[in-house]
Symmetry: D2
């Protein structure tokens, strides 16, 4: 049978429990286990990233491709077809329910827009059939607007309107493909939308161009019946020196400025957070506080280096923080947990792809279990809620509702005198976190 | 005469020209020299920062005060008076026309709000008299809402409304003082408005509190007849782990979110820019592009360390970039160039304070001369303008004015085919910058 | 009884097991539990850092002291005595067996060297008595050569030989104190031994001065019968821009260059490692590989900021990495695990000091348990050993023993042809680590 | 004539002086101008880096090749020949006297070591002929031990001895080529000699392997009559997470540890310095202080990003600092100033290559002029010399010559009492630097 061609030696990955030494089994991710009222599978909408997992080459700035994938080689369209088959075999064996793609990951670029569109449509048909036969769904789609040389100076923010037009053409068809495959999200990651140097850049003009493109995309999406959400994925730098979608706060400000806020949520990536010198949790919180946490790219960076390493998520603390926020907001309706992560250059084998995803899935399964235990433990949540109680009554309430002013507050302060010094109890709370982690796994 | 008590050995600093070896003379800053239609003095609204220059102790996290200032010691109010005299003597000898202060720099905190207010009023009277006699003006005032232990968890963002009230009391009186002294700006630098750890923080609540305080401050300011501008000064971190006013884009987004944009401009600090992993020029540009570059803290950081070093500005490239932007926007109406900078701990002497300011002033005088030469040279500006010309005609214009859509643009792209690869000429432009610098000094 | 004066409300901290919700109890640190052939207490030679825990004020660059300690105030020598009593009460209640000090932490500086020495001797006598009565031991001592204004330009690296002489005097007496109190280590942390700016620095001269001081210290120590080890603690920057003891590799190079290697081991601090853009594990490994891992300052930094935060260690991964290395090298004979960490500025209460240390101790207890489980699991160690097996036989052995050359190796390579691509299995190994962590707690 | 095929539109670059607006002319680099007793050409041994300038593609991690070079395409060996012709045409038109190469830049890798060696020999013959006809010389050669997939886990530090052997084979022939072309240096830049993760690495073993390779290389080099110097080029990270040649201090320590110091100097790169959180000047100074500053890769990084940008050097301050050090040590006998720099991805045109090099050459010409002026001005050098004068007499001299001890120094300190606080005058010195820069250009 065709589906077993590429990963013959690997069997369907199963849950074997914490004591298993089988590297090709889940230790914690048990799709049917119920936690906080839902199954793990329902909580954890994992998605496989087509670009890294199927199309990754292991190349880096100091060396080219090192992986030898059995689906590679030959005529571009044939290769695309084989790759799509391999993808669904991989996803199915892994037991993940979603996938994500860029247009150019799944189908090659032709000599003309017409040819490119035709190839894309062919592959989309194939993917639709595979989705049907496997039950795997599309989480979100996007357009690759950074790899082709024409996008060197940016896509929507390119000084040449003809490049803008090419980008528009790609977005159109990537949205068509997303809708055709039933994706619930469409992502904008600002590839080269930024500047390398201010000396040759009109940043004001470029940001306006970017906003124009987003408006056109929203208009088009609604016209073709896209019912999902648009996502912007912040990143501070790389490949450009300054990416316009620097971080969550910057993107939210941009969306407000250009009247785009109603249409967009954020897709937060762990490694992009740390490149912006934020914690992952911070970026999730900023988005969630704004009611705009739409989807998550679960990966991790290396805190000792200054570029995007896109490693698979293995840090338990990050997973716990993420799942606490998701439990609080009731999950991700349109988005999911996309493994925007790649195995290391030196992880040459197909098996490594499985290890990597299994590790990520077990990490978030553990995160979910701990987050649920923390909710039940209540100590952390109650501490914070209690801490700000003063703003829900008396003068605090007057402050929050605009019922007082500087003069009245001065009078109040003069009467009450010096405030008490109340400990923030950071160390105690950090201990509770560690205690519950150790206790609940 | 009283005014010469503290800096007896130092004479009024004069312009002696580029060939002077006198460390206590200007080499480039010639207040009456005309550049681009105005005098240097008019272009360069330098201000002395009271806190660093008069109140700095040389202390750092690994050691306490090391300076022995002749105005220090004795009864707090007397000391405050002597310090104010010293300040105006220093500013006058330096030939700077503006100063900036925090409330607690100029007057001590008493045992009660009433006493504190009284002391502040006394010192403000003294300052007003000194302003009159010397011609020195107040650029802006602010309240120190971070040094007192009560502000450990923040001021406006404190979980305790009583602390909020104390902060409100301080802001009220700091604004009174600013108005009394004719300041054209009032600054909010978010001291401890941020979090040390998310684990005990409700960021959403804290940001709302902060917005409430700003609204009250604006209301109060307008009520007492403040005609200047309110400024927010972004900083990404330090003393907290995450300051809510992270950078210019974050602050602009915050002001939009809470309907504060009309009342505020930004006060950009060089060292805060680099701590946010931006260039100084970037933060200036973001603000200027938004029509919100109100004032500038001219200092510099050390790119090899991760904290605020607040060194005096000496980098010619930064000064040129700043002055290009200021020439473009016609200067700073309400703000100026405040030396938010301190001499190094090891620069023990009063003389070092003069060296530091002289260096900063000469650096910006050079920056102005070069920026003017670049404007006249025209090559840089014309390159950028020409680069985006496509958006002022044809399909580009249609993009910018909302007269086209994805479908039409796809058609256009298909017809026109692949865009040309046009060099961004970054290296050539960087050479022009260096050539004009070397040629114009 | 005197000993209960300062922490009246706190009882002796006990082990209550993982399920306890008592914040003032250990959940994992059980001193008598045997792991890998020794008790936890024997493995984990925790030490309390006198400076942070007893002398910390909560001050930071933006605000002064905020803690109000019952042992503070009054005559300097009396305060020193009360503080020492409080220290031993704290250490005893916590159940830690070691402490560490700087000379100026424990006794104040007088108006003359003679007076200072006398005061120090008085306090050392008190400490000796308290050690005897409590069974608490001194891990190591050191001299504070950075707080006094005279050390602004450095101590041993000061341009003024008179400052060098003052530093020498302090080191002499700090070593006397260390020997008197039975310390097994004497630490050099290079306070201000570095430069703020190259423009006024002769780095070559300063490094030679530093080496001279270390030689004198070794000579003196051996003369007075010090039987322990000298430690250097690397730090890359802060307070200076560049500290000469940048990281473990730099210090090892320095020790070799100046013929000091035989006398010194390294004292590795977690936060200093990350400030140097290394991982903590890296610095431990570099030291251990050189046979020079002598002692450890267990704390943590905040990866989102660029200064030393000296937080208490709570990261399980770091604790596991540390304990794996210590199990491998058979522990720390002369050194220990010193909590060079401070509670946050906002953790005002005495209780917070207990929370902080309890959290650190439980974290390392967990680290020990996991590290032992990893040793028993064997998979990680065996993988690495097997990976380099080729160098213990054949051509690999010839390479390592100098029995081959470029020409012979070219011949070998030509014959054997292209090497296989063997996966480094990083993802699988990271999963094993997480699996064993979750399984063994 | 063949030599003019590739850059037809570009004429020989000439010196036209500071007032020229011709982007294809030197404004300051005048090869025959005498400065400090030598010509500019003698001081500034510029070299063109074959890899970036001839073989650069503009590719980055987010997109492939974008340049279309007229020498590209066709049969690999033919392409190599055309490229070499283009190189010498470029270098000659630019008026640079040196070039540098990796083995795989100049000749392709064949299917066997024999074929590869044959191709390399062919190209070396061609290069030798071109050197003869143009007068251009080889500065240094090196082997590319990081691009081929076999080097994914490192070359000398690879866990597989067969990879070590392949690396040995390459080094052998790259050294042969260097000697054949008269290079005065042979460089080791540790490509992938480092680790990605400690979890699968035996760092101690790997460093020993690396040392073994260097010893074999030295032995081979001396055997074939190489009379030049071996250079190691430090870099802290990228592509690996931790490169063993982290910085100058680390490399010097390594060379000492493995008894290699006599054979090696350092090749310092500006961008690698800043990636290690050092200043460029710091790394130059560390090397020069050790008598080991052998060669320099003059480029620059971007301080706002965390990866190697390898931009052309344009910063005047860096050039001045470099040239001051070089004037002090009498230049670089075996090394030079190699432009290890690449034009930006968006600088598509051949012309951009010229702009970039011209800018770099003018920057260092300005640096030389200013450095010479600073030497003549004397104020900076004298200040530093005077500052440490105390160590050349009296107690200071006793300290430096081992004629005193802690006890004697305590006595001295007690007698002399508290040292004076002498300002380090950092601000004044920084002003002098800026004044002399502005005055001397």
């Amino acid at each position: 049978m065709k589906k077993t061609t590429y990963f013959e030696s690997i069997k369907r990955i199963r849950y074997e429990g914490p004591d298993s030494d089988n590297p090709l089994a889940f230790k914690y991710y048990n799709p049917k286990r119920r936690v906080a009222g839902k199954t793990m599978e329902q909580h954890l909408k994992f998605a496989v990233a087509y670009w890294h997992t199927l199309k990754g080459t292991g190349g880096d700035p100091f060396g080219g491709a090192v992986y030898e994938r059995p689906w590679d080689g030959g005529d571009p369209l044939d290769q695309a077809k084989r790759t799509m088959d391999a993808a669904f075999e991989f996803i199915s064996k892994l037991g993940v329910r979603y996938w994500c793609f860029h247009d150019r990951d799944i189908a090659p670029e032709g000599d003309s827009i017409a040819q490119t569109n035709k190839w894309l449509a062919t592959i989309v048909d194939q993917a639709a059939a595979l989705q049907k036969s496997t039950g795997v769904k599309l989480l979100w789609g996007t357009a690759n607007l950074f790899s082709h040389p024409r996008y060197t100076h940016g896509a929507a923010t390119n000084p040449d309107p003809l490049v803008f037009a090419h980008a528009a053409a790609q977005i159109r068809r990537a949205m068509d493909a997303t809708v055709a495959l039933g994706g619930t999200g469409y992502v904008f990651w600002g590839g080269r939308e930024g500047y390398v140097a201010l000396i040759n850049t009109d940043m004001k003009q470029e940001r306006e161009q970017f906003a124009r493109m987003l408006h056109m995309a929203v208009d088009y999406g609604r016209k073709i019946g896209f019912k999902g959400r648009f996502f912007i994925e912040p990143k501070p730098k790389e490949p450009t020196t300054h990416q316009y979608d620097f971080d969550a706060a910057t993107v939210l400000g941009f969306l407000r400025e250009f009247d785009l806020l109603d249409h967009f949520d954020l897709n937060i990536e762990a490694n992009h957070a740390t490149l912006a010198t934020h914690s992952f949790e911070h970026e999730l919180k900023v988005s969630a506080d704004a009611g705009k946490l739409g989807s998550i790219d679960v990966n991790r960076g290396d805190q000792t280096v200054g570029w995007d390493t896109d490693q698979f998520p293995t840090n338990l603390y990050d997973a716990v923080a993420t799942m606490r926020i998701l439990l609080d907001q009731g999950g991700l309706k349109y988005g999911g947990l996309n493994f925007d992560a790649k195995v290391r250059r030196a992880s040459f084998d197909l098996e490594d792809l499985f290890h990597a995803h299994i590790g990520g899935m077990d990490t978030f399964a553990r995160g979910l279990i701990v987050a649920d235990a923390l909710k039940k433990d209540k100590r952390l949540d109650q501490f914070v809620r209690q801490r700000y109680a003063g703003y829900r009554r008396g003068v605090g309430k007057a402050i929050m509702t605009g019922k007082t002013d500087l003069k009245a507050l001065e009078k109040y302060a003069a009467e009450k005198g010096e405030p008490q010094r109340i400990s923030g109890r950071q160390e105690m709370l950090e201990n509770i976190l560690n205690d519950v982690i150790a206790r609940s796994l």
